[in-house]
């Protein structure tokens, strides 16, 4: 294998500085509280921190599951049966980039605050609304991940093979298609997790005890703690991604194409 050139190292170093310097700055600032690490102690002692972080994490997991349940069958049917409408579906999945979250949340509140779908009147209903809103935000990432995953496996032939064995559509989706999209869906799940953990606007307007609004509130009356919280949440998010990655490595997902060996 060729050793990386000096230019290669330089590019990597520049990227490392670009990403790590702000983190380093945040770390140094958070350590200015006296005694050292007091900001971290304060944060970890605050029940709001653990509560909001746990809440956001649970919402993120639910969002990932909801996204998979919506996106995988859609991408599958579009690829298999309706390839002509694929450009339209791709366009629709990109809409969250165009519609700002504040517009989305106002739309949701207007639609779901009055009967017959008064979801915002209960805590569970509002949580469901939050998950639905996040599933929309995650749509571009999850759809693309699923679509790319399906491109890597020959879903048409795998479907026909399973059909000839006697399998129906749901069984095929659950036992044949979904397990082979594991790697692709994990990358979509990473992005969804990262989006949900830091999201502020929707959670704030729906008045949910999420991590984003907690972080914002903390920044209003504390100096060093927001920096400590940012770093801790950063570490926890990466840890969560690592765990998802490890879980996802369960079975091989390499596809042997005909004639490749």
């Amino acid at each position: 294998m060729r050793r990386p050139s000096l230019t290669g190292w330089l590019i990597v170093a520049l990227f490392a500085i670009y990403f790590l310097l702000p983190l380093l700055g945040t770390l140094l600032f958070s350590l200015k509280a006296r005694p050292a690490f007091q900001a971290y102690v304060n944060v970890l002692k605050d029940p709001g921190f653990v509560g909001s972080l746990t809440y956001s994490f649970v919402i993120a997991v639910l969002t990932i599951l909801a996204s998979i349940a919506i996106v995988v069958p859609t991408a599958y049917w579009v690829r298999l049966r309706y390839p002509r409408i694929r450009p339209f579906v791709e366009f629709v999945t990109l809409l969250p980039f165009v519609v700002p979250p504040v517009v989305l949340v106002f739309g949701l509140i207007r639609t779901f605050s009055a009967p017959p779908l008064a979801l915002t009147s209960t805590s569970v209903g509002t949580d469901a609304l939050l998950v639905a809103a996040y599933a929309v935000l995650a749509l571009p990432y999850m759809y693309r991940s699923a679509d790319v995953g399906m491109r890597a496996i020959d879903i048409a032939t795998l479907t026909e093979a399973a059909q000839s064995m006697g399998a129906g559509p749901l069984r095929i989706l659950w036992q044949v298609i979904l397990p082979n999209l594991r790697s692709a869906l994990i990358s979509g799940a990473f992005l969804t997790l990262a989006i949900v953990m830091g999201e502020y606007t929707i959670a704030s307007f729906l008045t949910r005890p999420a991590f984003g609004p907690y972080l914002s509130l903390l920044g209003q009356d504390r100096a060093y703690e927001p920096a400590a919280v940012s770093l801790i949440s950063f570490a926890i998010t990466w840890l969560a991604m690592g765990v998802i990655g490890l879980v996802g490595r369960g079975s091989p997902n390499r596809v042997q194409l005909a004639g490749a060996r």
Binding site: A161, N180, G259
Partner: protein, 382 residues
């Protein structure tokens, strides 16, 4: 009664493309039938209609007397082997083979026994725990075959299963497929564009062209007595001659300035009418011609070594070049390039193709491009 029956099956795709046009076919129980034809001839579409992946535009498909035309593929109990193997990448070899049985809620022990039995049949007993990507192409296709057989299907369909494999494995697996099919006595329909595969494997061959069946027959029949000009050109190699009728009653024709006798029916032609005739390379021989044989003289243009055989190209005249196959026998010296030699063939070896104007200066030799048309008559080569 036929086990598999296709009755006036048509398939027209959206956009008006007619893929299959009026296919009638009866396959007996335990028979091995191959669909053979060039790309786009409708053979795979026909197979997919039998499997249930495509619905015929009109016509019926019956299996064991039951009309399955409207049944979805997962209710037909038909095993299918695909060109691209289509093994489930997330499952081990054993799980792949047992998948169909799991769907049928067969108990675990019976699934295990059946998987073990099939692994022994395909000689992969030690690969049960491997994943598809850990196997070679040939091994994967054997697993795909075992998976299709595991459900004890009424019919086994194979869609160009060997196309993605290299020549040596293809040959070995070909024999293995035939041996397993004979052992199990399963009715099998095989799609291929490889004529050698079809000729060596099949009880009967269905030659297809442009969506319809050109001929159905045993391999020797299809090769020796082609029912159409297309079949004659598509199966095997042909030396095609532009000839002029000398005597329609006796079947004598003239190639260049050399006269040859045939046993084809020329009664519908007048003297000097142009006809196309053909002779297979293996029907031609060198040396002293036996009594009653036709003789053509030509100049050796090329000698091509093919391993067990040698193919010589002879120039008969400005318009005709002939391929002659002879055994690669050290005791029989081959003629030098440029030397003049005689080749002989019996009148019965001449196939009469329909008349088609030859391109100017055409010198047809070896395998010609497939073209349709009726055949004048057919005779078995000597």
């Amino acid at each position: 009664m036929a086990f598999l029956e296709l009755q006036s099956v048509h398939k027209r795709f959206g956009g008006g493309t007619v893929a299959v046009s009026g296919v009638d076919l009866s396959v007996d129980k335990g028979e091995f039938v191959s669909f053979l034809g060039p790309s786009g001839c409708g053979k795979t579409t026909t197979l997919r209609m039998i499997a249930g992946f495509e619905r015929p535009t009109s016509g019926r498909v019956r299996v064991d007397g039951v009309d399955v035309t409207d049944k979805p593929p997962n209710q037909r109990n038909i095993g299918m082997v695909f060109q691209s193997y289509a093994l489930f990448p997330n499952m081990t070899v054993a799980a792949n083979i047992g998948y169909g049985l799991r769907i049928r809620h067969v108990d675990r022990k019976r699934i295990g026994d059946r998987v073990t039995e099939l692994l022994a049949l395909i000689h992969l007993e030690d690969r049960a725990g491997r994943y598809p990507w850990q196997l070679s192409g040939g091994q994967q296709q054997r697993v795909a075959l075992a998976r299709a057989l595991a459900i004890e299907p009424q019919l086994l369909l194979l869609d160009e299963p060997l196309s993605a494999l290299d020549a040596k494995i293809r040959l070995a697996l070909r024999q293995e497929i035939r041996s397993i099919q004979r052992q199990l006595g399963i009715t099998t329909v095989y799609v291929t564009h490889d004529q050698e595969e079809a000729l060596s494997l099949s009880d009967r061959i269905v030659v297809m062209n442009d969506g319809h069946v050109e001929q159905v027959g045993a391999p020797a029949e299809v090769y020796g007595r082609p029912a159409s000009s297309f079949v004659a050109r598509f199966i095997g190699h042909l030396n095609i001659f532009e000839a002029h009728v000398v005597d329609p009653a006796t079947g004598r024709v003239r190639v260049g300035d050399q006269e040859i006798r045939t046993s084809i029916g020329l009664s519908g032609h007048v003297r000097e009418a142009r006809v196309q005739i053909a002779v297979r390379p293996e029907s031609l021989r060198f040396g002293e011609p036996p009594a009653g044989f036709n003789v053509l003289r030509g100049t050796v243009g090329d000698v091509v070594f093919l391993g067990a055989t040698v193919r010589l190209r002879l120039r008969i005249d400005d318009r005709h070049e002939v391929s002659v196959d002879t055994f690669n026998d050290a005791a029989t010296p081959l003629p030098d390039i440029g030397s003049t030699v005689s080749i002989a063939f019996p009148p019965g070896a001449v196939l009469g193709l329909d008349h088609e104007p030859a391109a100017e200066g055409a010198a047809h030799a070896a395998s010609s491009s497939p073209r349709g048309g009726a055949i004048l008559s057919a005779s078995v080569g000597g």
